[in-house]
């Protein structure tokens, strides 16, 4: 199994994800250039955080049109694993691989801090090492993480089990309207969303920044380890049956 980290111009968490995959998890990993339309046989593709094309038009809008995204779409349609983190999540939304859209954070400011997430789906290739309801503490760092969609589509998202992570209190209680716990005002506290097949996940918090004890937090490691092992064991459709 091989993991690929896409490099868009302006990606700035590409090295971070690569580091955790390669050096912490010992996974064969490679960088994928935005202008190539091949994934070089990678089973797991990560769209990293950063500011692809400076986010100058709309976060993720230009990156979604990159040649590599054609290959990512084909990979996703075939059931391959795609993980979008932060800016990568925004790219997935713009590429319509995941429903919904991002607005600027409710307080209109960039926010870098730790948040708590409740695990709403522990049966996905990305989350099978977590427990249902498990609370993770992960860092966020974004200006546009305020997830939004129409009420009907949000209802459908919930009914389909596509909400994977929700901002919560340290005890795991929902606190959708409380900026202390839901930092950006995301609708229904949604922090991570998957596609219907469960093989594409977008999330605002950064698991790769919480994957080493020396950094004081390794809550994110189980998520990346889940994805790596799922990729290896071809558990690709683990959540799809739901």
């Amino acid at each position: 199994m091989k993991a690929g980290v896409v490099v868009f111009p302006g990606s700035n968490c590409d090295h971070d994800v690569y580091h955790v995959l390669k050096h912490v998890l010992g996974q064969d990993a490679t960088f994928l250039w935005h202008q190539d339309d091949s994934l070089q046989g990678c089973e797991l593709v990560v769209l990293p955080g950063g500011f692809a094309y400076g986010d100058y038009l709309r976060a993720g809008a230009l990156a979604a049109l990159s040649p590599v995204m054609g290959a990512v779409k084909r990979h996703a349609e075939a059931g391959g694993l795609v993980l979008g983190i932060c800016n990568g999540f925004q790219v997935l939304l713009e590429a319509a691989l995941i429903p919904g859209a991002m607005r600027r954070n409710q307080n209109l400011r960039f926010l870098c801090r730790d948040v708590h997430l409740s695990t709403e789906r522990a049966d996905l290739p990305f989350t099978w090492k977590l427990r249902q309801g498990e609370v993770l503490r992960l860092p966020i760092a974004h200006g546009e993480g305020n997830y939004e969609d129409s009420p009907a589509r949000l209802d459908a998202l919930e009914a389909n089990g596509q909400v994977v992570f929700r901002y919560c209190t340290p005890e795991g209680a929902r606190a959708d309207g409380d900026p202390q716990w839901n930092p950006n005002g995301a609708a229904r506290g949604i922090a991570g969303v998957c596609n219907l097949g469960g093989n594409v996940l977008g999330m605002m918090p950064h698991p790769e920044r919480a994957s080493e004890a020396i950094l004081g937090n390794s809550d994110g490691l189980a998520l990346l380890a889940s994805a790596v092992e799922a990729g290896s064991r071809s558990l690709l459709r683990a959540g799809a049956a739901r």
Binding site: D16, F51, G54, G216
Partner: protein, 736 residues
């Protein structure tokens, strides 16, 4: 008539209008042996501006100790370089962007961060940490909320997009900055020891390549503007402020680091202040070469720029490099892959002259050496202020009526309030190196792939410096070293940003001379060389100068990161030890300034030998893993430091101290609070005794309140209440 022939006539008067005085104009005429043309005059005005030439500060800066066992590159390059072990070097520097940030806070602070980041990766190092030292005026002063908001957004947007963690810094407020805020940006990068690049041109015939953004009309004469004071017309200087594009800078970083790996680059320099002029002249000047520039090939944002404008534009995100002849294509391929424009704009020559050709005409032809190496150097008149004795008269110190209330009032001032509103707008975890981010004594980042870490801190007390610049300068260095020691770091070097008023005023030159002396003395005593830095003069508005503000950013190495203490208390039951001695010192103290509006008296004594002993002790205790908490005492004194240690993790403490009343806020130097497990207590006390540092066990961590007993008093403050005051004060003051 050609365009060049239509340019303004050159005279002593036009020279003055762009910042060259009569003497300097004559000097230029002597060097050229003729009258300069308009382009040559503009180039000289930029190169000889205070900002680029350091003409008023040079004679003093020579006093700095610049050598040390770790120093590979001292001042004079884009940034200093120190060896940090395991085959790695750290490259760092701090720079001011005060004037632009006051005129246009968002773009001013953006380009300040952008400029310092380029200085670092120009040397071949990848930036892995940034800090910002900000000084604002009173929050209620005109425009101040806009300035604070703009600066914080600018620092954040640039670093966040670029992908460098802003791990620390300092934010202060004082009315002396009401008309002239300070924005000092620090960046640190790492590189393999044998992969450092220099900005030293060589090899006649080697092509000069231009990479990055196109040249526009922004920032023309920015360097000259930064060398003048503010007045009512300053608002009109907005066009001299550059516009930042962090996305292009990020691309430029990746492309440059990749291009450097080809081995086809001889020299490289970013275009910062005075743009194409300073970058090309400095590279050629350092290498003793000449150069020919073909200005028709400079990529332009709009047609019609004259040579004068091209040479003086400060458009951002541009680099100039000297390539090995015949290998241009290899480099061009790398830059084009990253979507960057590359242009061959000339070549290195052996004439020692800069010849600029445009539209088939010679736009300028000037000798490089005399213009760079022989720039004017001034020994400005120096005068000690006449009221020094009055300023140093010991202040009357009112006793606090209510200790808890006094503590809460101090914690509610912007000076002591939590700065989380600011630091949460900066990405401080990108690059996954941040071991300790903002809020501690020093920030700590991993040196990836090694057991070591790098620590950095940023310090200065402008009130001390205004009362006694020499002592204030020494104190800034001592505090920086103390902060590093609190995380067990051995200092390897420092960079400074010396922010002062108009050096043509004798009292300002005196402040500068004294501050440099104080810094030098402390550097020598504490074994920290100055490896890079920046001087910002003319920080005054309508004749009112800022306080002397020599910001010090020091960097240290932590051999092993295991068992690193924090500035906050971590575990109930830990024993608290106070290190150092109080001398009841209130000169320039926060207590008198914030509560009684009194800035009076000589600042606290800086006993450098005692500071060295304390730093040795702290480093030794940290290295042995004895400490869970180490926090230095600085402005606000003991009680503020103790409260800060409680607030970090909202953990209470019970202490009994021999300090009485106001002495809880005395600012005697050379002190720190540490906490350790009960089992380690004896060893901590014994080692302090051996190293000659006064140490006293004062209490224990735990509970939900801060409880303090002194000789005659006792107070209890619930941590939740203190936290509420401390954490909401800044947003509240900003009206958010």
């Amino acid at each position: 008539m050609t365009v060049l022939q239509q340019e303004p006539a050159v005279s002593a008067e036009t020279a003055r209008s762009i910042g060259l005085n009569e003497e300097e104009f004559e000097r230029l005429r002597t060097i050229l042996g003729r009258d300069p043309n308009w382009t040559e005059l503009g180039i000289t005005s930029a190169l000889w501006s205070e900002h680029c030439s350091y003409k008023s500060s040079k004679i003093y800066l020579r006093e700095f100790p610049t050598e040390g066992p770790h120093v590979l590159q001292g001042p004079g390059e884009n940034a200093g370089v120190v060896d940090v072990g395991h085959g790695w070097v750290a490259v760092f520097k701090m720079e001011s962007h005060n004037h632009p940030s006051f005129i246009e806070p968002y773009q001013g602070s953006m380009t300040g961060v952008g400029g310092i980041l380029r200085d670092i990766f120009t040397m071949g190092a990848r930036p892995i940490a940034a800090m910002d030292a900000l000084r604002f005026g009173e929050i209620d002063a005109p425009r101040m909320r806009t300035l604070i908001d703009g600066v914080v957004r600018g620092v954040g947007d640039y670093g966040n997009c670029f992908g460098v963690p802003t791990v620390g810094g300092e934010t202060g407020f004082h009315r002396c900055y009401n008309g002239n805020i300070l924005v000092n940006a620090f960046a640190l990068g790492v590189a393999r020891r044998d992969r450092i690049f220099h900005a030293r041109a060589s090899g006649a015939g080697n092509p000069v390549l231009y990479v990055g953004s196109r040249t526009g009309r922004d920032g023309i004469h920015g360097a000259t503007m930064a060398s003048e004071s503010f007045d009512k017309e300053s608002e009109q200087k907005r066009p001299t402020v550059q516009v930042g594009d962090p996305f292009t800078e990020k691309i430029l970083l990746e492309a440059c680091l990749e291009a450097m790996r080809t081995g086809a680059i001889v020299a490289i320099q970013d275009m910062g202040a005075a743009g194409l002029t300073s970058s090309t002249f400095e590279m050629a000047g350092r290498g003793g070469t000449g150069l020919r520039l073909d200005l028709d090939h400079v990529p332009l944002r709009q047609p019609g720029l004259t040579p004068y404008e091209m040479m003086l534009s400060e458009s951002q995100e541009r680099m100039v490099l000297v390539a090995r002849k015949g290998r241009e294509e290899e480099l061009e391929k790398v830059f084009r892959r990253w979507g960057l424009e590359v242009a061959n704009i000339g070549e290195i020559t052996d004439t020692g002259r800069a010849v600029l050709v445009w539209h088939g005409e010679t736009a300028a032809d000037i000798p490089i050496g005399p213009l760079t190496a022989e720039a004017p150097v001034y020994q400005r008149p120096v005068a000690e202020p006449s009221d020094l004795a009055a300023r140093w008269r010991a202040p009357e110190v009112p006793q606090p009526e209510d200790l808890r209330g006094t503590l809460e009032r101090l914690l509610a001032t912007p000076d002591f309030a939590s700065k989380a509103w600011i630091t949460s707008q900066y990405d401080h975890t990108v690059r996954t190196n941040t071991v300790q981010g903002p809020g501690g004594d020093a920030a700590v980042v991993l040196l990836k792939g090694t057991p070591s870490g790098l620590a950095m801190t940023c310090d200065v007390n402008p009130v001390y410096c205004s009362l006694d610049p020499r002592r204030g300068g020494a104190q800034a260095v001592a505090e920086a070293v103390r902060n590093l020691a609190c995380v067990g770091a051995d200092p390897v070097g420092l960079t400074d940003c010396l922010n002062f008023g108009n050096p043509e005023r004798p009292e300002i030159s005196w402040q500068f001379r004294e501050a440099v002396r104080g810094i030098s003395e402390a550097c020598l005593a504490l074994g920290v060389p100055v490896i890079s830095g920046n001087v910002s003069f003319y920080n005054e508005t309508e004749g009112t100068s800022i306080y002397p503000t020599p910001a010090i950013a020091a960097v240290g190495v932590i051999a092993s990161l295991s068992g690193l203490p924090e500035a906050a208390f971590q575990r109930a039951g830990d024993r608290i030890v106070l290190l150092g001695e109080d001398r009841s010192e209130f000169g320039g103290s926060a207590y008198l300034r914030l509560l009684y509006d009194l800035e009076q008296g000589r600042p606290p004594v800086v006993d450098l030998a005692a500071e060295a002993r304390l730093a040795d002790l702290l480093r030794s205790l940290v290295a042995k893993g004895y400490l869970r908490t180490a926090h230095d005492l600085s402005d606000g004194g003991f009680l503020i430091a103790l409260a800060e240690a409680c607030l970090g993790r909202r953990l209470g403490a019970r202490v009994e101290v021999p300090l009485v009343g106001a002495d809880l806020f005395s600012e005697s130097q050379g002190r720190a609070i540490v906490a350790c497990s009960p089992a380690a207590l004896d060893r901590v006390l014994r080692e302090a005794e051996e190293l000659g540092v006064a140490a006293r066990e004062i209490g224990e961590v735990g509970g939900e309140a801060l409880e303090v007993r002194t000789a005659g008093e006792r107070f209890v403050a619930p941590i939740a209440a203190l936290h509420e005051v401390w954490s909401t004060a800044l947003p509240r003051a900003l009206g958010l």
